[in-house]
Amino acid sequence: MNPIKAVVVLFDRYFYSEKQSECSDLDLRVKPDWKQLRTRIRTMPTCDICHYAFLLSVMMISIIVSPVHILFKLVVIIGLATIFIVPLTSQFFWSALPILTWVGLFFNMPFIPVWIKPAITVQSLPALETILYGDNLSDILAASPNAFLDLLAWLPYGIIHFAFPFILAALLFVFGPPRCLRAYAFAFGYMNLIGVITQLLFPAAPPWYRLLHNLEPANYSMNGSPGGLGRIDQLFGFDMYTTTFSKTSPIIFGAFPSLHSGSAVMEALFFSYLFPRLSWVACAYVSWLWWSTMYLSHHYFIDLTGGAVLSLTIFTYTKYRHLPMRSLKCWCRWSYTSIEKFDAYSSNPLRGKTSADVVIELDESFSSSSSSTNLNWV
């Protein structure tokens, strides 16, 4: 049998045959629906207007500072406008706007003029880490490297970190309720975007800087370092990380917060949402990645907690605002007949059980503001 046909048959048997309603359908239209677009813009809630205004402003800054030719910039703008208007692509790209904005800003960071950038802090992170956690944990973990530990650290930091967001997106699309992928794109994109903006506003030197230069003043013309990943290049005998981290890295002094940690925690939270019984796997992965970032001298522990706190905060917001509820009775996307959201009011464990102190009116107002969100737009 033709392998493509076999995949289609298997998909139809195990997934699509579950379909009972149209809530899981994708919009396959290619012709722009101007009327629907106008209606959506007119009825857009204020918070959504702020959301898109913020993202478009950041995107415009990225396009302005980018050194590419103006014709290429125009092509990018027209291309983006097209994919946001065509229904087939817009259903994915409206939700992915925070991710696109983050990627755009990240790769254009080196072109932001130095006179705008704040001064680089070299001593604040190790000092804060010592004050809050008793020592520089990255020093503790990087103290005795060997080839086995190098490989063990390289796997999550250099391989899984880049592949897992896509694998998780596919898992969420197939096994999660409809629209949960949009919530994931929103949360993942915003976490990274806020992280990169923080790195821009609070440039800080990573642990490898302290090991190479002690605590001497830094400047923006300095080269980066692959940290412990340089040993992986030595082990394999080819340049996989040294040039990338030394010369072409868009952010040299972006230690805080750690986006490796932020991404791992965000993935762990969505993975636990999708497969609650496998939460321990997600926790183990985060612990493994945290160890590897410190072992490779890429981040202080305080950077990791910064990224994790950012992720948890954005995930919690997304959970109550955008994320549909996972039903344990439904085995895949096509099993869902309706979409239900987390309700902040009914979830309240203190709800209605006492006559005093419980702020029910507050919960109700929070809950109603949550449910007013237009899911089609986020």
């Binding site: 006179w115 680089i120 604040s124 003043p217 400047n219 923006y220 340089g230 925690v265 464990p349």
Partner: protein
């Protein structure tokens, strides 16, 4: 204790229900307490730690499962367990403040230069690393040096150079001054400890309502189901039970219930 009761917030950040705050607070606590297992890995890496550091990491490892349990149980909270979690969190906040002071003193006394660490090589950059380390001037932060700032070679009064571009031209002023570094360290420490105290009040407010729920509905012996299973339990279960009852009684005294 009337002052404490009036100081307890009714909402988290003024707008959100308390339980959302508790969900975040316990999540943040778990993230922070992960420092314990990593700190104790020093036993295997040979990095020396002193007695207070060891106690700090061991206590983090001990409270980690408790916070996990509280986080997991948030949507069907039991009074005994949350009394224990809240009391430990209050204690943890107090000891955290003291440990921060102790470690801050350590940092400002001995500076950031840890001569005991083994500096790992980074592959090809190893030569550059050793050269840099050998040539680098030590500039650790101390209270006596906070007024010092990088001294650029260029003339800031040179009117031919537009002001914004002076910084771009002079690499010496692209690094934060000692005063700025000190400000960031102290301001962040104070802010984080302030936030920690606020989080403690949120947790106290949540548990207060939980205990009041039991009192109002006369479920002293029913909703306390986690306090009633001591018979036939293991020694650990009995110790846990004892701690829960103790913490509940302490909080009842604090809340005047």
């Amino acid at each position: 204790m009337g002052f404490l009761n009036s100081a307890l917030p009714k909402k988290f950040l003024g707008i959100f229900p308390l339980y959302i705050g508790v969900e975040l607070i316990l999540g943040y606590a778990i993230i922070n307490k992960m420092s314990g297992p990593y700190g104790l890995l020093s036993l295997f890496t040979g990095h020396p730690i002193d007695f207070f550091q060891a106690m700090f990491y061991i206590s983090s490892v001990i409270v980690l499962p408790l916070y996990f349990h509280g986080f997991k149980e948030l949507f069907s909270p039991r009074i005994g367990m949350f009394s224990l979690v809240t009391t430990i969190y209050v204690l943890d906040t107090f000891l955290g403040l003291l440990s921060n002071l102790y470690f801050a003193l350590q940092w400002f006394t001995y500076g950031g230069e840890d001569t005991t660490i083994n500096k790992p090589s980074f592959g090809e950059s190893a030569t550059t690393a050793s050269e840099s380390i050998a040539s680098a001037a030590t500039s650790t932060l101390s209270f006596s040096s906070f007024t010092a700032s990088p001294t650029p070679d260029f003339n800031p009064l040179d009117s031919t150079v537009p002001q914004p571009y002076k910084r771009e031209m002079d690499e010496n002023v692209q690094s934060a001054s000692q005063a700025r570094e000190l400000f960031v360290i102290i301001a962040s420490s104070v802010l984080l400890n302030g936030v920690r105290i606020y989080f403690t009040l949120i947790l106290l407010a949540f548990t207060k309502i939980l205990i009041r729920m039991g009192k109002n509905e006369g479920i002293q012996s029913n909703d306390f189901n986690d306090l009633n299973y001591m018979q036939g339990e293991t020694k650990f279960g009995r110790v846990l039970y004892f701690l829960k009852v103790k913490c509940l009684r302490i909080l009842q005294t604090v809340y005047n219930y």
